[in-house]
Structure formats: structure tokens, C-alpha cells
Subunit: 223 residues, 2 copies
DNA sequence: GTCTATACCCTGATAGAC
DNA sequence: GTCTATCAGGGTATAGAC
């Protein structure tokens, strides 16, 4: 209902981008204040510490996952398996639109702070679970297109692992090649799973394949 | 030929562990000096800056990849595909033996510094390539056990992505469950690929499977 | 809620004797 | 090669007026 961005929101969004770009420890509170046009007094009115601000950023990330990623993926296609790849395509576009300078909002804090900031670690673990559950729901919706013996939760964890690993590699190489290679192999895996499920059902499978085109343009900067 | 650890080596190993645990930016030079029992003057005799030290750590990582991971994986089993999983098993044991407090020596710096430290980014990209090439070599050695149309390089990139993503998730959850889930699905993928390759060869496949037991105990701390 | 001013500490790095 | 002493700057966070 806020007609314009509040100071608190501006701090969260500014901090988010800086954290995603250069990490938490390397980002000074001063830099956040300068870029947000906010003074120290206001900052500590809303947040008790820099870590508290990061936790608020992670809270905002939870909302963002639904609004910017899973919602659009659902809107992009009815096909549950294509929805999984629409999610991955979001990260692909995110990487290029920021020229590989921003990392994953979950993976970055997870890699940097899991050992030293218990509250951050726990919060990130929660985000990973939300992400995994959302993908798992797509996989469950795929029903018997996947073999019955495949654990949908485990498969969702693998999708998440591929995404995180692909993003890290793409940023280090400044190239989509490793991302596309990894996701391409994931696609092959799904094709084989579908093939096996079809085979098991002893049905030749007709025109199941018409593979959607991926989600529309979405951007975490476009909050 | 150094009979005992030199000051330079001690700095590198001490810094490595601190960087892996708490990240680069969060690790002060002073903390490294204290734990290594070295004074500031000696440090700047060997290294021109903190970043220079990190680059030396990454150089050491390259050696370590061969000595601690790929060498042992080759020694553990003759089966090229099992060698891939022996490599992944190394990371599994690494995670538990350090109680999820240490991150991946490549993935950590990649996630934290790819955008802000060009030299680090380039060096990490080189390490990723070395890792990928080593796995690709195993996959090439697997010959026609994998379908001919499968790009061995792309498959190796996917293995790397799964490893990095699985390590990040495991650290955030402080649990092997997400790691095992992701690697378990990767195993299923390989099984399907082998099944398909066998099918294509129109050979029923006999006793190809006798799956090795994984590498011996190895530990990056045991340098 | 926002401002200015500042406390206080730790940072990476250097100087120069030994 | 290693030591002690130290610099200059930035770090997070606070105090108290408005």
C-alpha cells in the first residue's frame, strides 16, 4: 500500500544488490548508506545491525522467489516439467542481464556465511527448502510422466544443485557456456526419465512433447 | 625438498583454511599471522598483498586437486565412471570431517569474488577447467558405456555443477541429505545413460556392474 | 524518522632496525 | 628473513539534537 518506496525498503533493495555483487563482508554499511541516500541515524532506526539488514534482505528474497520466479514460471507454461526449466531460464536471463556480476541471492550468502553466521545459515536453509518444495510440486504435478520410483524431492534437490553450481561456474567464466551445458544435460536426464516412464506404461507415447518456450522477461532488479 | 614447512607454506595453509571457513573478506591478515605464528614483516616479504596470498592459495589448490582428489580417485577403482563418483565421495567426506564448516576451495572464492577481483576470478575459472577436464577424461575413458551422442565435456560440467551446488546446500543445512539426494540422482542419470548405450548396441549387457567402493580416506587438512 | 558528529576498533600495509 | 612499531583509513555502531 506504500505509494512510494520507504526508507526501509530502499535500504533493503540497495543492500541486496551490493551483497549480491560483492558479498556481505566486502560491503560496508557506509557504501549502502551512500547509494541509498540514507544517513546512519535512519539506518539504525530500522535495523539493529548489518546482519539484521541481511536477514531482512533474505526475507524479501522469499517473497521475490514467488513473485519473480515461480509465479512467472507457472504463467509461462502449463507443462509442469517445462516450468522447472522456465525457472532455470530465469537464472540464465538474470546472469546475462547483469553481465555475470550478481550472484544467487541464496547461494551467495550460503557460500560466504554458512559457517560464521548461524542465523543467516538457518534463514538460507529455509529459502533452499522453499525453492526445493516449489520445484518438487512441479515434479509431483508431472505425475506418471516420471517413473514412479523416482523420488521427486531428491530430483528437486538435484535441480537446485545444478542451478547453484551452474550460476557459480557461469560467473567465474563470465560465460553462459557452463550454465547451458549443465542445464542441457539436466534436460537429457528428464528426457530419459520420461522415456523410461513411457516405456514402463507400455504406451508408445504420442505427442506429449511440445516443450514450452520459457518464462517471460523477469528481473530481480525490476522489483 | 624443504624438510620442514617454510614460513611461506605455513602462511598459505593457514590462510587457506581460514578462507575456506569464513571467506576471504572476513579473514583479516592479522588473524592469519596470529594463527601461523608469523609477523607482519615476514608476511609482506613473501606476499605483496592479501590478494596475492589468495592467489598463492589457489595455486596450491591446483596441486591439491591432483594429489588429494583425482589421484586417489584413480587409485580407488579402475572403473572410469566409478572414478567420477569417487571424486564426489571425496567432497562428501570432506564435508563431514570438517563438520560442514569448510567450503569448496574453488566454489567459495568463485561465489565471493568473481565480480570484484578479476585475477581471482580468472584463476578460479582455470581451476574449474582443470576439474572439468579431469572428469571429462574419465567420461571419455568410459567409451561406449555412454551413448555416443552425449557430449562428455557437457556432462563433466554438469557433474561439477552438481558438486558445487550440493556442497553449498549441505553447508547451509548442515546435513548430507541434500548432497546425497543430488548425487543419488546423478547416479540414476548415469545408470540411464549406460542403459541406453547398452540398448543402442543391441547387446543385453552382462555383468558390467560391480560398482567400486569409493576412494580411501583423504583430507585436505592432511597436506 | 532523520540529521550530524563522533567513538572506538580493526584493517591492510609500510618503515627501518637487526 | 624476521622483528617491532606504526600509519592512515575504513569498519560498525552510538549519542543526542531536531
Amino acid at each position: 500500500m506504500a505509494r512510494t518506496t520507504t526508507t526501509r525498503e530502499r535500504l533493503i533493495r540497495t543492500a541486496a544488490e551490493l551483497f549480491w555483487r560483492q558479498g556481505y563482508a566486502a560491503t560496508g554499511v557506509t557504501a549502502i548508506l551512500r547509494r541509498a541516500g540514507v544517513t546512519s541515524g535512519s539506518f539504525y532506526h530500522f535495523f539493529s545491525s548489518k546482519e539484521d539488514l541481511l536477514l531482512a534482505v533474505l526475507d524479501a528474497t522469499e517473497e521475490m522467489l514467488q513473485v519473480e520466479i515461480f509465479g512467472p514460471a507457472e504463467a509461462a507454461t502449463e507443462d509442469p516439467i517445462e516450468r522447472v526449466f522456465a525457472v532455470l531460464d530465469f537464472y540464465r536471463r538474470y546472469l546475462v542481464s547483469h553481465r555475470f556480476e550478481l550472484g544467487c541471492p541464496m547461494g551467495g550468502p550460503a557460500a560466504e556465511l554458512s559457517a560464521s553466521r548461524p542465523r543467516v545459515r538457518a534463514r538460507v536453509a529455509g529459502l533452499f527448502k522453499i525453492w526445493k518444495d516449489a520445484v518438487e510440486a512441479f515434479l509431483v504435478a508431472a505425475g506418471d510422466r516420471l517413473p514412479g520410483e523416482v523420488d521427486r524431492g531428491a530430483l528437486a534437490e538435484m535441480v537446485l544443485a545444478v542451478m547453484e553450481g551452474a550460476v557459480i561456474q557461469a560467473r567465474a567464466r563470465r560465460s553462459l557456456a557452463p550454465f547451458d551445458a549443465a542445464v542441457g544435460q539436466l534436460r537429457r536426464f528428464f528426457d530419459l526419465l520420461e522415456d523410461r516412464a513411457g516405456r514402463a506404461a507400455e504406451v508408445p507415447v504420442s505427442a506429449i512433447m511440445e516443450r514450452g518456450g520459457g518464462a517471460e522477461s523477469a528481473d530481480w532488479r525490476a522489483w
